[in-house]
C-alpha cells in the first residue's frame, strides 16, 4: 500500500488509469468532502449575493456577516421532525433523494481538476457524464410519485419533462465541443475529459473562442441548457414556491429535503465543471502557450496567494467597519480570526509559489503545479456559480409552456446548426 501511495506522487496519470485503488479512494473522499464544503459555501454566498442584489443585507446575525448561517441551517434541518405522508410508499419515498444524490455525485469521477488530478480518465468520459446526469431525472420522477399528493406529482412531471427536454440540447452542444477536439495537428479527437483539455492546450485556443462565433454559441446554449437541467431560475417553474408549493420536494422535511438541496447544488457544480472543461480550458491558466516564459509562469503562480490575500483584506475591512460597540465584540473577534486564517492561507500559497518557482521537478514545484491547476479550475467554476446566482436575482421565471418551447423549438435547431457549421468550417479550415 505504501508504494501505491508513493508511486502516484511521481506519476502523471490519474489513479484510475494507473490502477491505483488507494489514491482513487482518497480522491473520492476529497471530492465528497470538497463538494459538501462547496455546497455549504454556495448556500451562504447565494443568500448574501441575492440579498445584495435586492439592496438588503442578508443573514448578518448568526456569525459575522452570516458566515455561520449554513451551519445553523444544517443543524436545524437535522433536528427537524421527519414527516412521511401516510399513504406514501415508504421504500420509494426513502430512495428518491438517494437516486438524485447518486446521479449528482457520480459525475465527479470524470471531472479533471488537473492533468492527473481526476479519479479516473475514462475513454468515454463525456458519454459517461451524459448518461449519469440523465439518471437524476429518475430521482425526481420517483420523488413526485412517492409523495402521493397532487402538487408534488405535477411538479415532478413538469420538472422531469423540462430536464429531459434540455438534455437533448445539452448533448448536442457537447457533441459540437467534442467535434472541435478532432481539429488537432494530428487530426485525432477524443471523448475523454482530460483529452479535451489537452487538445485545447495543443490547439492553443479555448473552445469558447474557436471558430468564432460558433464556439461561443455552443457554449451559450450549453449554459442555458445547464441552467434548465438543474431547475434553476429562470427555469425553476417546477419548484417555485409561488407556483407549486415547492414542487416535487414539498412533502420532504428535514434531512431528506437537505439531500435534495445537496443534490441540486452538487449537480450545479458538476455541470459547471463540465462547461469549464469543455469550453473554458479546464485547468489551464490564461495564455499558457502565448506567454510561456518562466517569468510569466511565476506571475501566474502568484494568483492563488493573491486571491486569498484579497479575500483576507476584504474580511479585515469588514472588521474595521463593524461598529465599536461591546455587543459586537464576539463578532469582531470571530471575523478577525477568519481574516487571519485567510491571510495565513495566502502566505502559505505565496511561499509555495516562491519555493516552487523554477521549472524543475522538485517536490515543491510539483506541488505548486498541482495547486495551480486546481486553483484555476475552481476559479472558473466559482465564476459559473456567481453566474447562476446573478441570473436567479435578475430574471423572472419562464412559464412552463414557454420553457418547453425554448427547449425544443429554439435550442435544438440552434445546436444542430452549430454542429453542422462547425463541421463545415473545421473541414474547410484544415
Amino acid at each position: 500500500m505504501l508504494n501505491q501511495f508513493m508511486s502516484y506522487l511521481g506519476s502523471n496519470v490519474t489513479p484510475g488509469s494507473a490502477n491505483n485503488q488507494l489514491w482513487a479512494l482518497i480522491y473520492v473522499f476529497i471530492i465528497f468532502a470538497g463538494v459538501s464544503l462547496a455546497v455549504v459555501a454556495m448556500n451562504w454566498f447565494e443568500r448574501k449575493a441575492l440579498a445584495h442584489f435586492q439592496i438588503r443585507l442578508g443573514p448578518m446575525r448568526v456569525g459575522p456577516h452570516g458566515l455561520l448561517q449554513p451551519i445553523a441551517d444544517a443543524i436545524k434541518l437535522m433536528l427537524k421532525e421527519d414527516i412521511i405522508p401516510q399513504e406514501a410508499d415508504q421504500f420509494v419515498f426513502w430512495i428518491a433523494p438517494v437516486i438524485g444524490l447518486l446521479a449528482a455525485f457520480t459525475v465527479y469521477t470524470v471531472i479533471p481538476f488537473g492533468p492527473s488530478q481526476a479519479v479516473s480518465d475514462m475513454n468515454i468520459g463525456i458519454l459517461f457524464m451524459l448518461g449519469v446526469s440523465s439518471l437524476g431525472v429518475l430521482g425526481i420522477v420517483v420523488a413526485g410519485w412517492a409523495s402521493n399528493s397532487h402538487y408534488p406529482l405535477i411538479g415532478a412531471l413538469r420538472s422531469s419533462a423540462q430536464m429531459v427536454s434540455y438534455e437533448i440540447a445539452m448533448g448536442m452542444s457537447v457533441v459540437s465541443a467534442v467535434l472541435m477536439t478532432s481539429f488537432n495537428k494530428d487530426g485525432t479527437g477524443t471523448l475523454s475529459m482530460i483529452g479535451i483539455v489537452r487538445s485545447q492546450q495543443d490547439q492553443g485556443i479555448w473552445f469558447l473562442f474557436k471558430f468564432f462565433p460558433l464556439g461561443l454559441v455552443a457554449f451559450v446554449t450549453f449554459v442555458i441548457a445547464m441552467i434548465a437541467e438543474t431547475n434553476r431560475a429562470p427555469f425553476d417553474m417546477a419548484e417555485a414556491e409561488s407556483e407549486l408549493t415547492a414542487g416535487y420536494h414539498t412533502e420532504y422535511s428535514g434531512l431528506r429535503w437537505s439531500l435534495f438541496m445537496l443534490s441540486e447544488y452538487a449537480a450545479m457544480i458538476a455541470v459547471s465543471s463540465i462547461a469549464v472543461t469543455l469550453w473554458l480550458g479546464g485547468w489551464l491558466r490564461p495564455f499558457p502557450n502565448l506567454l510561456h516564459a518562466p517569468a510569466w509562469d511565476f506571475i501566474f503562480s502568484l494568483f492563488p496567494g493573491l486571491t486569498f490575500l484579497g479575500l483576507a483584506a476584504i474580511a479585515f475591512i469588514g472588521v474595521a467597519r463593524m461598529p465599536a460597540h461591546f455587543s459586537f465584540k464576539i463578532q469582531r473577534i470571530g471575523l478577525a480570526v477568519f481574516a487571519a486564517l485567510l491571510g495565513c492561507m495566502a502566505l502559505l500559497l505565496l511561499l509555495l509559489a516562491v519555493a516552487g518557482r523554477s521549472a524543475d521537478s522538485s517536490i515543491a514545484a510539483r506541488f505548486r503545479e498541482g495547486i495551480d491547476y486546481v486553483y484555476w479550475f475552481i476559479l472558473k467554476v466559482a465564476l459559473f456559480m456567481y453566474l447562476f446566482i446573478w441570473l436567479r436575482a435578475t430574471w423572472p421565471r419562464y412559464r412552463f409552456d414557454q420553457l418547453m418551447r425554448i427547449g425544443w423549438k429554439v435550442l435544438l435547431p440552434i445546436t444542430l446548426g452549430v454542429l453542422v457549421l462547425t463541421a463545415i468550417v473545421g473541414v474547410l479550415a484544415s
Binding site: 488509469s17 490502477n19 485503488q21 410508499d89 421504500f91 420509494v92 430512495i95 475514462m122 475513454n123 468515454i124 463525456i126 458519454l127 459517461f128 451524459l130 448518461g131 449519469v132 440523465s134 439518471l135 431525472v137 429518475l138 420522477v141 420517483v142 410519485w145 412517492a146 406529482l153 412531471l157 413538469r158 422531469s160 419533462a161 429531459v164 427536454s165 438534455e167 437533448i168 448533448g171 448536442m172 457537447v174 457533441v175 467534442v178 467535434l179 478532432s182 487530426g187 485525432t188 479527437g189 477524443t190 471523448l191 483529452g195 412552463f400 409552456d401 418547453m404 427547449g407 425544443w408 454542429l419
Partner: protein
C-alpha cells in the same frame, strides 16, 4: 398531462440520435496504448450478474409497477456494467443513456399517467398463469439441455480487445466508407428511418384529435 408525455417520448427516441453522433465524432481517436489488467473479475461478475438476476426477479413479481420499474433500472445498470467487463464501453454508455435514462423515464411517465388505484390492489398474475409458467419452464429446460450438450462448442478463449479504439472502430463500422469498414452504414440509415416512423406512430396514436 399530454404535455409531459410527448417530451419523454421524443427523448426516448432522440437519445439514440445523440449517442450515434457522439460515436461519429469520436471516430478519430488516438491509437491504443497499453490496456489495463482487469481487477477482481470473478467477484465483480458474480456481483453484477446477481444484481441483474435479482432485479429481473423483482420485475416480474412485484405488485406495484413503480417498484418493477426501479428494479428494471437496477437490472439495466448491472447489465451495462457487464458490458464494461466485456470490454464494450461504448455499448455500456449507450445502454445507460438510452435505456436507463430514456426508456425508463418514459415508462415511469406512462405508469403515472395510467396509474389507477385498482391496479395495485388487483391480483398480480393473469388467468392463464399456469400455462405460461409451464411454457417458460419448457424453455428453461431447452436452454439447460442446450448448454449441457453444447458446452464444448463455445471455445474458452477470450480475445481481449484494446479498449481505447472501441468507439473508433464502432464509428468506423457505422459511418465508414463501403468495404471492410462501413459495413453497417446502410443499416444505420434504416435505423434512423425506423425511429422516424416510431415517433410519428406514437405521436399520432396518443393525440386526442388528429
Amino acid at each position: 398531462m399530454n404535455s409531459a408525455f410527448f417530451p419523454a417520448l421524443q427523448l426516448a427516441l432522440a437519445r439514440p440520435f445523440i449517442a450515434s453522433n457522439v460515436s461519429f465524432l469520436a471516430s478519430l481517436i488516438t491509437p491504443p496504448n497499453a490496456d489495463m489488467a482487469p481487477v477482481a473479475t470473478p467477484f465483480f461478475f458474480y456481483l453484477l450478474s446477481g444484481l441483474a438476476v435479482a432485479g429481473g426477479v423483482l420485475v416480474i413479481t412485484r405488485r406495484n409497477p413503480v417498484h418493477c420499474a426501479l428494479a428494471l433500472i437496477v437490472t439495466l445498470i448491472a447489465v451495462a456494467n457487464l458490458y464494461l467487463m466485456l470490454y464494450a464501453p461504448f455499448v455500456a454508455g449507450v445502454q445507460i443513456i438510452v435505456y436507463a435514462g430514456g426508456i425508463m423515464v418514459l415508462f415511469l411517465f406512462v405508469i403515472m399517467l395510467v396509474n389507477i388505484e385498482r391496479a395495485s390492489k388487483d391480483r398480480r398474475f393473469n388467468r392463464i398463469w399456469p400455462a405460461g409458467l409451464a411454457a417458460a419452464c419448457a424453455l428453461m429446460a431447452l436452454f439447460v439441455s442446450a448448454f449441457v450438450k453444447g458446452r464444448t462448442l463455445f471455445p474458452d478463449r477470450m480475445i481481449k480487445l484494446p479498449e481505447i479504439s472501441n468507439t473508433q472502430e464502432i464509428a468506423n463500422a457505422l459511418y465508414g466508407e463501403a468495404g471492410r469498414m462501413g459495413q453497417y452504414t446502410f443499416t444505420f440509415e434504416i435505423a434512423s428511418l425506423l425511429l422516424l416512423v416510431a415517433i410519428l406512430g406514437a405521436v399520432i396514436m396518443t393525440k386526442k384529435r388528429i
